[in-house]
Symmetry: C2
Subunit: 367 residues, 2 copies
């Protein structure tokens, strides 16, 4: 049996996707050619690309006035590319800080504009069991937007801290920009609430090396002249992600994942499964004083579940025992310590069951 992989990204992929990729590696559909060897301008790759886009649009129920772009550089590159593409004539943007990733976004944006922190939960940082402040999302009524921001940026799922937005404020004319890297495709989204949604692929989309940008068409005209052409959304959109050679194989793998998602029943069906997985894990944490999660229950991430052992001297034992049971990559991010179970779409309920069984047995053994 394959071990269960709780890595935060790159992360578990569906076995069926890996199997198909292996089967087709030397010969894609009778062409005698690997997808890796195909010209991005070939008829064959064009069909792979268009099918991936059509399946993704169907999964997302994409409104007609949004474009799907495949870029490179991941969410970290987009932290610069968002202001470079959206500032236009404006000189300020607003950032809501709810954890490590939104903070990184704000810091990078401050190189290009006044990156105003409209709200932050940093006073309640979850960084040790000794700091028992609950980690949450500042109430929308407490967001202090600046006078005329180019956009408002949020990170809708904080991979390190385990905080997820389940409600989105209505900002009127101001475009809402979301780094949704670690929960995109984990549940249906109302795309019309956003101006831009972006994310690296290496969580629920596919392998590392391709970035998905979903952008409302009327926002394509705001790039600064210093934005590199290869990363200018308008240019990328005008060339249907073929301005430069796209990461063809990463797009192919994403396409296989989209087909897999459709076979699972789409985003509503996968959401139901993700809710079941997350509830099982959070209930196990909350049922015992042995484990602690301090994220406010209403905004606990369904994808990334950080938790601490009340007695942190047992961390190494916990991880070694987990590894021995085939439960891999449970160590928390270095900046916050503790444990983290990332339970993306491709992590089955059986993996979470095995994890909670292990957690309960470990707690009993050390009670």
């Amino acid at each position: 049996m394959r071990p269960f992989n709780f890595a935060a990204g790159p992360a578990a992929l569906p076995v069926e996707v890996l199997q198909q990729a292996a089967d087709e590696m030397l010969d894609w559909q009778g062409t005698g050619t690997s997808v890796m060897e195909m010209s991005h301008r070939s008829r064959e790759f064009e069909s792979i690309h268009q099918t991936a886009l059509a399946d993704l649009a169907e999964l997302l129920m994409l409104p007609a006035n949004y474009r799907l772009l495949f870029l490179q550089g991941g969410a970290l590159a987009e932290n610069a590319l968002v202001p470079l593409n959206l500032l236009g004539a404006r000189t300020a943007a607003d950032y809501v800080v709810t954890g490590t990733w939104s903070r990184k976004s704000q810091l990078e944006a401050s190189r290009y504009c006044a990156a105003h922190i409209a709200a932050t939960n940093e006073t309640s940082r979850l960084n040790s069991p000794q700091n028992r402040a609950r980690l949450g999302i500042p109430a929308f009524t407490d967001w202090h937007l600046s006078a005329d921001p180019a956009y408002v940026h949020i990170c809708t799922n904080e991979t390190v801290n385990g905080v997820e937005f389940f409600e989105i404020p209505d900002l009127g004319e101001v475009p809402l920009v979301a780094d949704a890297s670690s929960h995109l495709l984990s549940r249906p989204l109302d795309i019309t609430q956003y101006g831009v949604i972006y994310g690296g692929a290496q969580k629920n989309i596919g392998m590392a090396g391709v970035t998905l940008v979903i952008v409302r068409e009327d926002l394509l005209d705001r790039a600064l002249p210093i934005c590199p052409s290869a990363f200018e959304w308008k240019t990328v959109a005008a060339h249907n992600s073929m301005y430069n050679t796209p990461p063809t194989y990463a797009i192919y793998i994403a396409g296989l994942v989209f087909k897999w998602l459709k076979r699972q029943g789409g985003l509503a069906a996968i959401e139901a499964r993700n809710i079941e997985k997350a509830q099982l894990l959070y209930q196990t944490i909350d049922a015992s004083d042995f484990y602690i999660n301090w994220v406010e229950p209403a905004v606990r991430s369904r994808m990334n579940v950080p938790f601490y052992l009340a007695d942190e001297t047992r961390n190494d034992d916990f991880l070694a025992g987990a590894r021995a049971c085939g439960l891999l990559h449970l160590k928390g991010h270095a900046s916050v310590g503790g444990m983290r179970a990332s339970i993306y779409n491709a992590v089955p309920l059986a993996a979470v069951r095995a994890l909670v069984d292990y957690m309960q047995a470990f707690a009993q053994r050390h009670a």
Copy 2:
């Protein structure tokens, strides 16, 4: 038998590499995990990355004061990232234009600095059989460098036009920057002649989605403040290409290609084979009035061989007949028309033999 793939990139890969990738897809070396699923911070991926770097340094005989960086965005992104990383306090850079790609580099750089054209062969463009001017590289003595350029940029192999630099000028203190995308690893290079060498992987390195940047360490301190952090070479170097999530699978495939290259005997051995392949093809072209290549013989590319049929009304017949023989992707770049055979490292001599056999038979049939 697999067909022979003459695509310009993404392009043919060694069958052994594809076979190993297929074999290891679900389980890399007993880990029960695909390389695609591995955290970039895992011990397993770190060993893949370090082995790839060590093999590449060995193949290149990399001097100790150069760094190997894996980035994203391809050569087209680097067209912006080169000035963003190298201008420092200077406001001008020099570009030598020898074809489509160096021209693109110059145009993109002109968004960031005075991108001075120090020399050009554009008066002798190879764009139709009716334009019989020889395409060459301007003599070094005719390069008109500006007073204090941040660097001099060349494209050492023009993928579209088939022009390759076999000699490199000595520019003294001025760093030479080379887009070597389409011939990097096809032969030994004296790295010390360059300040920076960069290239997309999708020719001789691996699959599309990773960019190799070879940079002399003393040049890492010249980035403009507007350079996105994820693409700032100094930042990337300081984090050993792990500042953002790298394209892990593309690095793995590159590592397999490096091992394959070492088994072939390294770059000197592969160069000997590439010379044999190129000579066979150019001799076939030159031996017949049926086919034409107008690149000056001294600078004809060993990787990308553009040629025209003297009677261009036969182009479609030529391509259809080639396809029927399993000779794929011989159509020239849309901007110049005609034919192009890209004969990268992974294209075997047998492929070139099959191509010249077909070319001779086609010429006889239509003589």
